[in-house]
Amino acid sequence: MSYDEWFRTDRLPHIYCAGCGNGTIINCTLAAVDQMGWKKEDTVFVSGIGCSSRAPGYILTDSLHTTHGRALAFATGVKMAKPAFNVVVFTGDGDLAAIGGNHFIHACRRNIDMTVVCMNNQIYGMTGGQGSPTTPLKCLSSTTPYGCAEPPFDLCELATAAGANYVARWTSYHVKELEKAVKVGLETPGFSFIEVLVQCPTAFGRRNKFRQVADHVEFLKSHSLLKAKRDRLIDQGQPVPEDMFVVGEITKRNRPAMGVKP
């Protein structure tokens, strides 16, 4: 099977803007899912509300497109009631970390067996570009017209502190690495969290000096700091550049988990 077979072709054209990075993330995720050899009828995609959360609507499995922020609570019901299912959640930075923040930390704590892919465009895309809990300081959005004054969340640190078994961060530039990370997430029992920094030309790029999509992707590439490299810098007592973000496998462990396949 190729991962094309996981798409609902009768739903095309999709709603994403030209240059949106979400399609890349969906492709990488489905490539990893396809490698797992999972049956479609045993696989459920769940999401909340947002551009990112529209993804399950394009995937040919049972899919549950729920309410804003609540995807993980719905997914918990699905997975606990039927541990034999493979459950994958698509979410956005607003969906997961603002309105859904409480469900996020509790799903990590329970370490419930599912894989969550967060398309972090650092903005509320669907509602036209308002600030989110991951909008970087000083960035412009329609609700931070003078620059964001709130420090952002580090979603991976949050997931790690709350108890997720597997945590990784990549960007829409790192397609091979992302595909691999999702695969490891799918294979790891317990809660797997993959954050993907992704370009949103319409709601974020336009306001924040990324005139071309390629400029933003280039920024994501050049500002990624491999975790191993970051750790080395710290070991050597050298400063970690402040404008860079860590990518790579951040956490992998084997805490007690819930809803694991029989």
Binding site: D62, A73, T76, H103
Partner: protein
């Protein structure tokens, strides 16, 4: 066969759920409903079911909807503050036609109000509380026996009509202990099977209810709270489609109101007629017993929503409908819509039942 028990109302509710085959409970503790969750926590795991204490009532409601799509009979229990938090996902269950049961053991509101006292203040919230035009089913028990029986019925209605069904109890009935006859087994009406090949939300039957395409059966169904077409795909900017969908979701419940009507009539020739549901039923029964007056009638309602308006017309000589409620007259207002004679609300706030003397005094008042 039945056996006799001496149970608390909340125990009877949980036992009714277990008898009905409930295999998933997601909830959050709140007085005066907590005993339902505690009993489910003790018993479900031993029967191979799942009990999960969620992080709040928003998540509780979400979890039972998720579980329901796997085919489970799923339930939660709460009271006012938690019920308010459930509203958005209740609307999601209505829009996605997800069978589930929500128990609300009502306490005094607004807000945190009276955690340990009785009330019926959520009767309009259950009907209209979630945004948009919706229709739901609500049942109100007046005895421990009915806590059991109506919980079973709630699961059957939920599966049959593909809608959230509410057991609108009150603290009085939830915490009261009395004799109950527990049957060995109960009737279970399952979900209408899905006919493969059909679009998942296509309706061909006159009851307007589509078959249920359980997750995991290879139907690849897309479930969304957005306005959707027969395939389940979003179609949120199509005006006629939206109108037809919402109309069908409401009609499938409203059209079945006679079928679902559940009430008792005492003294249909009477001129003065009590109408009650839940806790106040008990006080009315006492007054009826004390008076033994053919001119005092009683309509005892178990299915409150959809409201069984035809039952009111059976009192042909009625000059007044007297409606004791532990709220400021929520169902009295509904009754007013259906009759031409005066409707007298008998509100009681504070957390206690009306006394028989209070109701008897209203009977003596000049119409």
């Amino acid at each position: 066969m039945t056996r006799t028990e001496f149970w608390q109302g909340n125990t009877a509710c949980a036992e009714g759920a277990l008898a009905a085959g409930c295999t998933f409970f997601g909830g959050y503790p709140i007085t005066p409903s907590t005993e339902v969750a505690e009993l489910m926590a003790a018993k479900l795991p031993k029967k191979g079911g799942i009990f999960i204490q969620m992080e709040d009532e928003i998540a509780s409601m979400a979890s039972i909807i998720g579980a329901s799509w796997t085919g489970a009979r799923a339930m939660t229990a709460t009271s006012g503050p938690g019920f308010s938090l459930m509203m958005e996902n209740i609307g999601f269950a209505v829009m996605t036609e997800t069978p589930c049961v929500v128990v609300n053991v009502q306490r005094g509101g607004p807000s945190t109000g009276q955690p340990t006292m009785s009330a019926q203040g959520d009767m309009m919230q259950v009907r209209f509380g979630s945004h948009g035009d919706i229709a739901i089913i609500a049942l109100s028990p007046a005895t421990v026996q009915e806590m059991f029986e109506l919980t079973v019925k709630a699961f059957n209605h939920a599966d049959k009509y593909r809608v959230p069904v509410f057991l609108m109890a009150d603290e009085t009935v939830g915490h009261m202990r009395e004799k109950i006859l527990v049957p060995d087994s109960v009737e279970k009406i399952g979900r209408k099977p899905f006919v493969p090949g059909n679009p998942p939300f296509k309706v061909t039957d006159p009851d307007l209810i589509p078959g249920f395409p359980t997750f995991g059966t290879g139907q690849h169904v897309h479930v969304t709270g957005l306005t959707h077409d027969e395939r389940g795909y979003p179609a949120a900017t199509n005006p006629p489609l939206h109108a037809a969908l919402v109309k069908r979701l409401v009609d499938k419940i409203e059209n079945a109101r006679d079928e679902m009507a559940d009430y008792d009539i005492v003294n249909p020739e009477a001129e003065q007629v009590f109408v009650a549901y839940g806790g106040p039923v008990r006080t009315v029964m006492q007054v009826m017993h004390d008076k033994k007056d053919k001119n005092v009638g009683f309509l005892r309602i178990r299915t409150v929503w959809p409201f069984p308006e035809k039952a009111l017309l059976e009192f042909k000589n009625a000059k007044r409908f007297l409606v004791p409620e532990m709220n400021l007259g929520q169902i009295a207002r509904e009754i007013e819509r259906h009759v031409t004679v005066p409707v007298v609300p008998i509100p009681k706030l504070g957390g206690e039942l009306h006394t028989p003397a209070e109701l008897a005094a209203v009977l003596e008042e000049k119409a």
